[in-house]
Symmetry: C2
Subunit: 211 residues, 2 copies
Amino acid sequence: MSTSVARVVVCLEEVGAEYERVDIDFAAKEHRASPDHLNRNPFGQFPAFQDGDLLLLESRAIGRYILRKYKTGDVDLLREGNPRDAAMVDMATEVEAHQYTPAISPIVYECIFHPAMRGTPASTKVVDESLEKLRKVLEVYEARLGGGAPPPRLSYFPFTFYFMVTPYAPLFDEYPRVKGWWERLAARPSVRKLAAGMAISPEAIRRSFNG
Amino acid sequence: MSTSVARVVVCLEEVGAEYERVDIDFAAKEHRASPDHLNRNPFGQFPAFQDGDLLLLESRAIGRYILRKYKTGDVDLLREGNPRDAAMVDMATEVEAHQYTPAISPIVYECIFHPAMRGTPASTKVVDESLEKLRKVLEVYEARLGGGAPPPRLSYFPFTFYFMVTPYAPLFDEYPRVKGWWERLAARPSVRKLAAGMAISPEAIRRSFNG
């Protein structure tokens, strides 16, 4: 259920890489205490990624590594061979990290994660402020998305997925191009596979956090 | 004096590209009101970058575009031809954005920008909390930086530059490998040229903000 881990795993699924997922004991704070984990991620965060003797952290950097390593003629999401296409990929990723996620993630935390983990109700103040920010971001996307099918942006998947199970999901109906873009992203086999295994119910989320 | 703009311009200087810098009237909030600027950066932020009919925003995405477009055999900071090297570049950039800058930037704002722009003294609470975070990040860097000369990471330049004119600059003396890495970065011609033109004194910062 970690959105950062999902951001990595969806890339592994997208390229069809073989991988092993090693769960950490979140409730026991294994990510902050285990020497093995701290060797992989010295900031005590997750994910931590290992490929042979290469250790990587930061979900978007790991995702890029996977997409680059397993690039084929058919599957080349980074488009690094073409500076203009590559710039659009980079811009979309940076906007996701610095505009979209800061706006959408508090809504997901307030409506999904915190109620399940802490039993606290959503703060309407936090939700309302974040919705206002999210509307501004979606307005920009709506204006910028052309009529065609923009490339998939896998890093948008985890928080959008969780947003779509909040009561505020209908917000996307006001932005038909964005909605269409999300529907195409959600229909990808890699995304569908991840989505099918993600914890949504309060009970499943509690279990995921508490082991 | 904008750290985001500096993050782009240092890349332009690094590759020796010809460019024109178009200042905005910050005090008049031109970045939020001017249709021309909003066409380039619909989030009403800066920088906004134009190359022919290509419009880009988000400083790290723009920097990548510049380094990729002007890549030569001698100057290839992104290393996209080698997945392992490229992953180290990406990881360094993501760690800068998500670990280093959130720790170091509040110190710079409290000690340099806010006193000059608002006449307010630095909040010792904010500074102390940020210093604690920064120490943890620098400890990780110190342990990870090998004995050799790691590649330059231009995106670290703007905030580190300003940190070095705060009273807390001696913190870096406790991390000799990090200090050496910064001294090599600061000695690059591109960085020296930028640094020479950046506003440091309260008077210069006020002028930069108020036109």
